[in-house]
């Protein structure tokens, strides 16, 4: 079991369980998403064309500008939203956006989390645990 649980440096939001959508790439709601259709739209993104709705996104770093701070809330209002974000490295914008939207997010691992979690795996994310974690179930 211990090999399949990964502790994060920080977390925010509630516990969720869903299938992981994993890539060694960044994340920005403005730069990377067609938020109406709920897909990755940036052609160069490794998840281009794939739906993120209801998935736990496991990605490398928070990228891009400040718009994501509003966009997570707007996406949440329409329920065209990932279930959670699991990132190796955040920027303040992703934290601010998650705080406004009451969105589940954890970040900061001892391993490259995009290599540790297989794409499509069922995972549980618990940002509110004493040590926030993502676990393959």
């Amino acid at each position: 079991m211990s090999a399949k649980i990964f502790y994060a440096a920080a977390g925010m939001g509630g516990k969720v369980r869903a299938r992981a959508l994993v890539a060694s790439d960044g994340f920005s709601a403005r730069y990377d998403l067609d938020r109406i259709r709920g897909i990755f739209s940036r052609p160069e993104h490794k998840l281009a064309g794939q739906s993120y709705r209801g998935r736990v996104l496991v990605l490398d770093v928070a990228k891009g500008g400040v718009a994501t701070a509003w966009m997570l809330y707007e996406m949440s209002s329409r329920d065209v939203m990932p279930a959670a974000l699991v990132l190796n490295c955040v920027n303040p914008i992703m934290v601010q956006g998650a705080a406004l939207a009451d969105f589940s997010m954890i970040s900061g691992f001892d391993v490259d989390i995009t290599q540790a979690i297989p794409n499509g795996a069922e995972v549980e994310v618990d940002p509110a645990a004493e040590r926030p974690f993502v676990r393959i179930v």
Binding site: V66, Q96, L100
Partner: protein
Amino acid sequence: MRLTDEEAAMRAGECGPLRRWAIEHQIKVGDYLGAADFVPVGQAHIMADTESLGVAGVEWLERWAALPDGERRVRIPATTDPRGTDFAQAHRLKQQPWMLDLERRAIAAFEALGVLMTDTCINYQTIMPPVRGEHMAYGDTGVVIYANSVCGARSNFEGGPSALSAALTGRTPRYGYHLDAHRQATFVVELSFTPRELNDWGALGGVVGRLAGDYWQVPALIGLDRVPSGDEMKHFGAALASFGSVALFHMAGITPEAIRLDDVVPAGTALPTHEIGERDVRALQARYARDIGAVDVVVFSAPQLSLLEMQALAALLDGRQASIPLFAVTSPQVKPDCDRAGITRRIEAAGGTVLSGMCFYQSYARELAEANGWSRLATNSAKLVNILGGYGYRPVLLSMAECVAAACAGGRLGT
């Protein structure tokens, strides 16, 4: 986070529900990012175009704007980033009435909160440049990186909700670039090429941004053969922030915190060093759709153009005629000067359109593309080409002169 009595009172709701929400939001963010306490800030700059806000975000603002006057007004000067439209020119963009209605509602809400509708992403050129050491709560990554790097001010990226929170509480969590420890360089870039054109400065920012990789990296550049102008710094910084999510850079002997490289390199530390030359800059430009033969639209935006950029554009257009749409986007502060100086008239006589108070990518870019049949777009902004791919465009990064030539040749490139 440690709270003062005043902060604890805000948290307890003694200053009303909006300030209670604001400081709770800031504490959540500060706790996540390791802030020990708050730092007072002099200004807040709020990014809040309605494409980002959506209906839900505007309704959220309107709920707070309905509070009694004493409970809803900001405590420090708070300004806004570009809006999603120029109401006077929206018809030329084929923007829909619902977009304009949403913009009007957002503006009314911000005005009720006491926010100054400056609608600009070049406030450091046109409103009030920050002073070295001054703590700010700035949104718009281009604003933050210029303020931090060129002015020596101190701000993190503050998204709209956090910048608004700072405006309401007068402070922001003290983490990241408010702290001396985070303002040291983390890698060195040794340049063998000093760009000349603004698009090359932007492309250089893109190359360095890709090397950086994340928000917490601080590049220090050496090897420039001259001091860049404010507009060159603007394009470099905006692209660096866009490609790399970077909030601070140093240029040895140029920017205020790096009189010498040693000033920003931790003592006894051998930082990773990367060599960058003209070939790297050209390679980044070549990644964009240089293989297309023509473009549908030419856009100068992101960041908004300064008065000097507008003047240069007018000079390139004098005596010529654009035969495809050409948009020049500037700030509401620069536009009246362009009108007085005849710059607007010269651009529009050549078939261009001057837009004020908006930014192209913050103005429903996907819907604009669909309504106008635009796909292939030429610009001299590296930041814009980095963003627009996700909106369905095929952008090309060219010099201002090459963009004008394309606009005057029916969109054909290389004429």
